[in-house]
């Protein structure tokens, strides 16, 4: 502890800057290294795609930023999350509550379970308005109507007093988005918001978020395992594996010129409409590592077709390939899309 010395507030010219965020869960089976020192920045109006397999730390990293991981067993070991010049990890619980919903909003994967079944849609949307904007009942209802209208729910006035079970899946996700947007947040974190929906509705929701983003000028963090969704909407992509960002860059580099074998594998597993018929889709061999007993070297090494001796002993760091495009791989120069 530096006694008497003002170290100054952490500053950042970016809207959001994540520095070395590390989250662990202390379970009976051992220490789960869920998020291992990830860093990135995000500017206003930008869309960041976070992709990776299930259990790679995508959601935990978002919940860590919101300080909503269960403590214990979870613990944010170190790092800084600087949002508008303030480190969210150092705020009091009370200050943090005013960030959540008002400044940073989040929508979840399954609209079937993320709306409270015993409260009306109207109640759930107005709650945040009354909480953060000090609106009274009538004002917040008015605003809730506008919001439902904005996300494309027909006859919003009649629907406000409906319960979630009276809504279809797509409508629930729209209502969730309305909840998320109610206080005009600067950042919307969308945690796989389309995974539980069928494909046509997925497209509608993606379209809706893009449209609203243009209209409201929000920053969006879109967490997904679906590279196809991200390709269409993100500016930049963070590819995560075993709790680390293993490749990051503008979306065109990630898709056009990936330099990490894992990214390459993910792209290879996408169906290609122009590809020849009858060719089996590529699947990455093996399984993601157990986050309890992490291998010493590169976490992807056991599944990697490019691996060399060094990968098993030394963990590669993110290194620049071209401006803004970084990959963590010892053999990144050999990795090429064919």
């Amino acid at each position: 502890m530096a006694v008497g010395i003002d170290l100054g507030k952490p500053t950042s010219q970016h809207l959001l800057e994540v520095r070395d965020l590390t989250t662990r869960f202390y379970t009976e089976d051992g220490v789960v290294h869920a998020v291992n020192g990830i860093s990135y920045t995000l500017d206003e109006g930008e869309t960041l795609g976070v992709v990776g397999e299930s259990g790679c730390g995508k959601s935990v990293h978002a919940l860590s930023m919101m300080r909503l991981i269960p403590i214990p067993p979870g613990k944010i070991e170190k790092g800084e999350v600087i949002f508008k010049g303030r480190d969210l990890l150092k705020l009091s619980e009370e200050e943090m509550r005013h960030i959540r919903g008002a400044e940073i909003a989040m929508i979840f994967q399954d609209p079937m379970t993320s709306l409270n079944p015993v409260l009306t849609i109207g109640f759930q949307i107005t709650e945040s308005l009354q909480l953060h904007q000090g609106m009274d009942k009538a004002q917040s209802r008015e605003r809730a109507l506008e919001l439902l209208d904005m996300v494309g729910i027909p006859e919003a006035a009649l629907r406000l007093d409906d319960y979630p079970h009276q809504f279809s899946g797509g409508m629930r996700q729209r209502a969730m988005i309305a909840m998320g947007l109610s206080c005009n947040p600067s950042i919307l974190i969308a945690d796989e918001p389309t995974t539980a929906l069928d494909v046509t509705i997925q497209a509608q929701i993606v379209d809706l978020v893009k449209r609203l983003q243009d209209k409201l000028g929000m920053t969006v963090i879109w967490i997904t395992h679906d590279l196809g969704v991200v390709a269409g909407m993100a500016d930049r992509v963070n590819v995560m594996y075993a709790g680390s960002i293993i490749e990051t860059g503008p979306v065109k580099y990630i898709y056009g010129d990936p330099h990490h074998p894992y990214t390459l594998g993910l792209l290879g597993s996408l169906p290609n409409p122009e590809g020849s018929m009858g060719v089996r889709l590529y699947s990455i061999p093996g399984e993601p590592p157990d986050l309890v007993g992490m291998p010493k070297g590169c976490p992807f090494a056991p599944r990697c077709t490019f691996k060399v001796e060094r990968c098993l002993h030394e963990m590669p760091m993110l290194e620049e390939i071209e401006p803004g495009h970084l990959a963590a791989c010892w053999e990144k120069d050999r990795v090429r899309r064919v």
């Binding site: 919101m66 909503l68 943090m96 509550r97 005013h98 960030i99 959540r100 919903g101 008002a102 909003a105 989040m106 979840f108 994967q109 399954d110 379970t113 993320s114 709306l115 409270n116 079944p117 015993v118 409260l119 009306t120 709650e127 945040s128 909480l131 953060h132 209208d149 904005m150 996300v151 494309g152 729910i153 027909p154 006859e155 007093d161 409906d162 319960y163 079970h165 009276q166 279809s168 797509g170 409508m171 969730m176 909840m179 998320g180 109610s182 046509t200 509705i201 509608q204 379209d207 809706l208 449209r211 209209k215």
Partner: protein, 345 residues
Amino acid sequence: MTNETKQTLVIDEEQFLPRREMSNLERWLGTDTYRALRGMVTNPTSIVGLVLLGLFLFIALAAPILAPPISSNPYQIPRDGYGSVPKPPGTLWNSRQPELPFWWKPIMGTDQWVHIMGTASGQWDIYYGVVWGTRTALQVGLLITFVGAAVGITIGAVSAYYGGWLDMVLMRITDIFMAFPFMLAAMTLSAVLTPVLGKGLFPPMIALMAFGWTGFARLLRSDILSVREREYVLAAQVIGVKDARILFRHILPNAIFPTLVLGSMRIGSYVITFAGLSFLGIGAEVGYADWGQLLSFARAWMTNLGEYWYIVIFPGVALVLFTLSWNLVGDALRDVLDPRMQGSR
């Protein structure tokens, strides 16, 4: 802008969803309450339960008309002499005949009040005991359940919500209370309390409350623990709702239904237990209108129940039907309120 947004965003799916017509009553009560109420009045089980319950409520409310009090304390069962041999239903009153209520003559056709359900040994009038005992049963059942549930809900909610060592301590205390055999513990405690509080309804009631809350605490705690992990709780945290509000507005309404059902079923069983204590002589003074007390009058005549059946049958049937009615209502409540049975139109 909005016009344009509307046109492009309102697409297929929603428009083809049938809109269900809602009655005014449903609008006013809210869909869930309406559904629950409709379930309660259409489910045969619950109709039987509700009718029985209505009957008991009617008897309790109309007690002064059904059995006009003779002494200043209406809960005191009137006795017709002091003879030890019970008299069968229909026997005329010898002394201190109660005032005839208005319904007596048109229905019975006489001016003479009889022992409608006979008398127990000591000439206690069974009819008075059954009618005024209904009031006792309702008071005792509701009060014990209400206090027990309130204590249990508080402990269960606090325990589940704060977790950690507090949860540990509270649940171990609950375990200790649960480790005693319920009846025996209640008996012992009321026996201890009787010299302090005097003979009456309170010692056994307090004893039943003291050992009756554990089920509520356990049940609610486990339900809160499971609801707490649902995504909508996280969704509420994400919009910055305060913890206490999350517990009361978001979690509790989702977790409380099983506890309510338990409460409804417990009313009947507490009355049974209370009657059991009464039967054993713990509880109200001799002659207080209480079904257990009436049953205890039959103790000495157990060997000739063929002859003196009425001492057991009338209060016994009342007790069984009372418990049955609460159980049926509780059962129906569970069917109606179970969230797993909701969600479909």
